[in-house]
Amino acid sequence: MPVVDLLALVLMLTGAAFFFAGTVGLLRFPDVYCRLHALTKVDNLGLGFVLAGLALRSGLLTVALKLLLIWLLVLLASTTACHLSARAARHLGVEPWRRA
């Protein structure tokens, strides 16, 4: 396997690990505020790694730029959605979790 492909594979596997961690967090964290971290931070890092791996695999600058644009758009959307849903949850009266 060429070095570039190997590097791409490592990047994508790292991304998959982050996605897995995000899913575990989404299912296991105690309240919506914690779960937002899993979904809008961890998963985004995972997406970044996966897209970086794919960009490396394609070997084309245009493809890499398109994937970068996709990642930036997702970051923008996630950040906003995280803020909006946390605010909505607070207004809905969802109490933040505290260790009992």
Partner: protein, 317 residues
């Protein structure tokens, strides 16, 4: 390779059916709607798996931007009143009968599908033969704008009729919407995102003649940007009073008819695009259709005029 993709197909199909069942089985309407949004987005993965990229694009735009927005919007309108009415149940006998009837119909259709011949060219070969003279490299665009332009013409007609129908059902009393300022983060987000979305729509439109993309995809994406502007109060709800607004609704239909009739001057049949002009005409039609489709979808989302004479009852702060 194949085994992996098979596993993918199995997981995808089971997920789709489970989501559909969940949408219809759950007690909470809100949960139902969220599952329905997810169902639509999962369909776009299925389209990707079936090489139907054009459909994946439009489903992604519709699923992420429009259907969910329409349903959530209606739920928001309906929820202001006493809402929760438990579903009357049919009783076990009735449910069993209904399930048996639906299952039998499914078995019959399933058997018909099972009996399909494995190889079936359909109309694909004829499209391939004439693709070069259609004015578009993307066969789906060639079918939509040239070979079966009648279908597309009528579809634009359906969109205009939908606007008329929605408008005929208004005005209605409801809650005052979009009055609160959106907040700094949301306002900034919309400010940043809308130009990018417009750019993406333009890209899909431009790509449409050669690759997956085109008027419907671009129109649906553009409509989502319109929904964002509407919902954050950046643009006022359409009232369909101004000639510009009304003109935009019928723009696609009128352009389509005009082109269809104009080619007849050159001795062609109605909507028969002359080969030499086909690419130009398709691009022109698609551009106008994109604008029309986007505006119609935004107007459908807005859902009718607001009645100034009868202000909504909870308008007071």
């Amino acid at each position: 390779m194949t085994a992996i993709l098979w596993a993918f197909d199995v997981v995808l199909a089971v997920t789709l059916v489970a989501l559909a069942a969940g949408v219809l089985a759950t007690a909470s309407l809100f949960r139902s709607i969220v599952l329905f949004i997810v169902f639509g987005l999962t369909m776009s993965i299925a389209w990707a798996r079936l090489d139907a990229v054009d459909l994946g694009l439009v489903e992604a735009a519709v699923g992420a931007g429009l259907t969910g927005a329409l349903l959530l919007n209606t739920l928001g309108h309906m929820r202001s009143q006493a809402e929760f009415t438990p579903e009357p149940s049919h009783g076990p006998g009735g449910r069993l009968a209904l399930a048996l009837a639906a299952g039998t119909a499914g078995l019959a259709i399933g058997a018909a599908v099972w009996a399909w011949p494995d190889a079936f060219a359909g109309l694909g070969d004829r499209v391939d033969t004439h693709l070069a003279e259609s004015g578009a490299q993307n066969p789906v665009t060639a079918v939509l704008l040239n070979f079966r332009a009648y279908d597309t013409l009528l579809e634009i007609g359906v969109l205009v009729v939908a606007v008329v129908a929605v408008w005929a059902l208004s005005p209605m009393r409801g809650r005052v919407l979009d009055a609160d300022p959106p907040g700094l983060v949301l306002a900034g987000f919309v400010h940043l995102l809308v130009p990018v979305v417009v750019l993406v729509a333009g890209y899909l439109l431009w790509m449409g003649t050669d690759a997956p993309g085109g008027a419907f995809q671009a129109g649906a994406v553009l409509a989502a940007a319109g929904v964002l502007l509407l919902i954050t109060g950046r643009v006022a709800p359409p009232q369909l009073q101004a000639i510009v607004e009304r003109g935009a609704v019928v723009l696609g239909l009128v352009a389509f008819l005009a082109v269809g009739v104009a080619v007849m001057a050159g001795g062609h049949a109605f909507l028969e695009l002359p080969d030499a002009w086909a690419t130009t005409l398709i691009l022109l039609l698609e551009s106008l259709l994109t604008i029309s489709i986007a505006i119609v979808l935004v107007i459908l989302f807005a859902g009718g005029r607001t009645d100034a004479a009868h202000p909504p009852e909870d308008a007071a702060p």
